[in-house]
Structures are given as structure tokens and as C-alpha cells.
């Protein structure tokens, strides 16, 4: 048995692994998050090898969440359980479903619900030289509402996005840095660009991805009121906060310019970003 502990958003959680394989699996998935000393009085997740071939049980407080091999599906369930435990009673900030990168010295927030295209857009931006931060979640502390804390993890691609992301990394695929099966693809961000992630960032641009098969890539400015409504749809833990974090989402929307990026593919993304940076009077390469 080995315990792996992480902290995020001021809360911590332990994952108890029954063997070396599950510990290495967990380490790969959580390697970019701060590691804490063992915590007490918190839910404990366990990954326990079963007697059935290579299947593992993911349990929380002795309740089984799923039984699966050490692959993409178990990873997804593990992330869900970890984030639920870290955020379910978290009142110290607002968590948003969002990707995030630093591109050309500008922090970009990429909010969207599941399936909106956050991971694909994040992967593309990282491939273009952005500093990868997260493809899933950003936490904004109440005492520092302008600062985003990314939940940095390997990029997790659903089956529909696998082909696109594999094309970006081409022959750099390595078993050590990648999990690929019928349920999707998980890759360490260093396969896209070898720049270390940062512990926090200050977003200066919000890009709402909207993946639409076959659509041309288009970026349209949206108002702060529209952005606020869209941010609230990405709110993860708002019910723990006064007004469900509505005021905080509104302040983010007022402070940061917002755009919707609709796309079927991202081949023209560099040109589109160049035009957007020019429009915003930001330095271009």
C-alpha cells in the first residue's frame, strides 16, 4: 500500500494505492499538483487491485465508484472523485470548468462545459508555444479574485478529440507519457511543448470554445453580460458561495475581454490569434 496526497484550492486528499502499478498510474495523473503530507479527516480514495485480471476498484470511503483497468476511464472517474472531494465543501473561492494557458505573455481562460472543446483548443495553443496550465479547472480564490489557480494535469481527450491531438504530437508518443485506449487519450503536456506549467496566472483574455463539426474557425467578441452568463454555466462549486459566485463571475466578465471561438478544425488558429492580438493592441511575435 502506498498513499499519494495532493492539495488544491486549500483542500487536500489522499489516494491509497494497493500496488506499484496503481501508484505509478496515480503519480502520472497527479504529478503536476502540489504534494502534501498525509491529511486526516478527509475522504480517502483507494485504488485496489481485484482478483479479476487487471481490473482495479476505485473506492471512496469503502463505496465502489467503478471497476476498470488502469486506463482512461478509471482516470476520468479518479479525477471526478478527486475534484468532488476537493471542491464539494470548498468556500474559499470560485471553481470554473475551464482550460487555461499563458500565450505570448497573456493569460487565457478557456471556459466551457464538457464537450465544448476546451482540451482540443488548449492542446493546440500549447502546441503553438503557450505555457500549458490546465485543460479542466481553474480556481479563483475569494481573497485574490484576479488570480487563477490551474488544476494542472495531463491533457485528457475524449474519443472525438484523440485524432486531432495525436496529430499534434505525431511521433513523440511515449508509453511513459501517454495512456491511450478505447475511452480516449491522456498525454502529458510536455509532449506538446516542454515549458513548465505555472502555479497561478492572471487571465487577460477569455475565449469560450464552441466546437462545431465542419465549421470555419471564427472569433467573435461577446459582451460582459453574455460572458457572465456563460461563466455561470461553468461554475463548479458556486452553491458553496454567497450568491453562488455570481458576483465573482460578473467581476471577471467586467475586467477581462471575452470572445467566442467557434471551430470545426484549428488549422488557421495562428492567423486568427495574430489578428486578435493586433485588435487588442498586444505585442505579436
Amino acid at each position: 500500500m502506498q498513499d499519494y496526497t495532493v492539495s488544491y484550492g486549500g483542500h487536500g486528499i489522499s489516494i491509497r494505492c494497493s500496488d506499484e502499478a496503481s501508484y505509478l498510474f496515480t503519480s502520472f495523473l497527479l504529478q503536476h499538483l502540489p504534494v502534501n503530507p498525509p491529511v486526516t479527516d478527509t475522504p480517502t480514495l483507494t485504488i485496489a487491485h481485484t482478483d479479476t485480471h487487471d481490473l482495479y476498484d476505485l473506492n471512496i470511503n469503502h463505496t465502489r465508484l467503478c471497476r476498470a483497468p488502469l486506463g482512461v476511464m478509471l482516470a476520468a472517474k479518479l479525477y471526478d472523485a478527486i475534484l468532488f472531494s476537493l471542491l464539494n465543501t470548498n468556500t474559499s473561492g470560485l471553481a470554473l470548468h475551464s482550460g487555461a494557458v499563458n500565450y505570448l505573455d497573456k493569460g487565457i481562460l478557456l471556459p466551457g462545459k464538457s464537450g465544448a472543446g476546451k482540451t482540443t483548443l488548449t492542446a493546440w495553443l500549447t502546441h503553438l508555444g503557450a505555457t500549458y496550465l490546465t485543460d479542466e479547472l481553474v480556481f479563483f480564490p475569494i481573497e485574490h479574485p484576479e488570480k487563477g489557480i490551474p488544476f494542472t494535469r495531463p491533457l485528457s481527450c475524449k474519443p472525438g478529440a484523440v485524432e486531432t491531438v495525436l496529430a499534434l504530437i505525431q511521433d513523440k508518443v511515449s508509453r511513459r507519457l501517454c495512456i491511450h485506449d478505447d475511452h480516449g487519450l491522456i498525454i502529458d503536456y510536455t509532449l506538446l511543448h516542454n515549458r513548465p506549467a505555472e502555479a497561478c496566472f492572471y487571465p487577460e483574455l477569455i475565449l469560450f470554445p464552441a466546437y462545431t463539426p465542419g465549421a470555419d474557425l471564427r472569433v467573435e467578441n461577446i459582451s460582459a453580460a453574455q460572458a457572465c452568463s456563460l461563466l455561470m454555466a461553468c461554475d463548479v462549486n458556486g452553491r458553496n458561495l454567497p450568491g453562488h459566485g455570481f458576483r465573482q463571475a460578473a467581476e471577471l466578465s467586467r475586467a477581462i475581454p471575452s470572445y467566442r471561438i467557434s471551430y470545426g478544425n484549428l488549422n488557421t488558429l495562428p492567423m486568427v490569434l495574430y489578428k486578435l492580438w493586433t485588435k487588442l493592441n498586444w505585442a505579436t511575435p
Binding site: 459582451s223 460582459a224 453580460a225 453574455q226 457572465c228 452568463s229 456563460l230 455561470m232 454555466a233 458556486g238 452553491r239 450568491g243 453562488h244 455570481f246 458576483r247 460578473a250 466578465s253 467586467r254
Partner: protein
């Protein structure tokens, strides 16, 4: 098609943020957010529990006579969206 004499009521408990002449509405219990552009924001403000659907249409047509033909359909379309999201309801006049 709505009964134009119905009075429009908004669901209590919503939160409102104003951005210039646009609004964002959020209802904590329903966990529903809704964006209102400038014209929708005007309609929203008229949904105060005293105006009927026809009252709202008439007042908007007085404000924007150049758009009087489009206003009934646009008003009913917005009310449909608000009702669909349980943000508003219609009640017969008392």
C-alpha cells in the same frame, strides 16, 4: 400563442447583474443563468407583476414606434424562453 391579457410574473429569488444596458440573470435554486441584451432587458423590467403581455408590447411600441411590427413576436419569443427556464410565468388577470 399567449393570452395577451395574462399578467407576467418573474420567479422570486433571482440575482441580477447590470452591464451597461444589458443584464445577466442568475437563479441560485434553479441554477439557471440568462443573458438579456438591451431590448430584452427592457422587457424584463416590465415583467413586474402588474403588466400584462399586451401592456408590455404596447409600452415597447410607444418607445420604439419604428419597430412596432416586430415587437409582439420578439416579446412573446423572450417570454417563451423565460417561461421555459422557469424564470417567469403567466397568470390570468385578477
Amino acid at each position: 400563442m399567449h393570452d395577451l391579457t395574462s399578467i407576467v410574473f418573474l420567479t422570486p429569488g433571482f440575482l441580477l447583474e447590470k452591464f451597461d444596458n444589458e443584464f445577466t440573470v442568475y437563479h441560485p435554486t434553479l441554477t439557471t443563468s440568462f443573458y438579456l441584451n438591451a431590448s430584452s432587458a427592457l422587457i424584463w423590467q416590465l415583467c413586474d407583476g402588474t403588466n400584462s403581455v399586451q401592456d408590455i408590447i404596447t409600452k415597447l411600441q410607444q418607445l420604439y414606434p419604428e419597430s412596432r411590427k416586430q415587437i409582439p413576436a420578439e416579446t412573446c419569443a423572450l417570454l417563451d424562453q423565460l417561461i421555459d427556464k422557469d424564470i417567469a410565468c403567466l397568470r390570468p388577470p385578477s
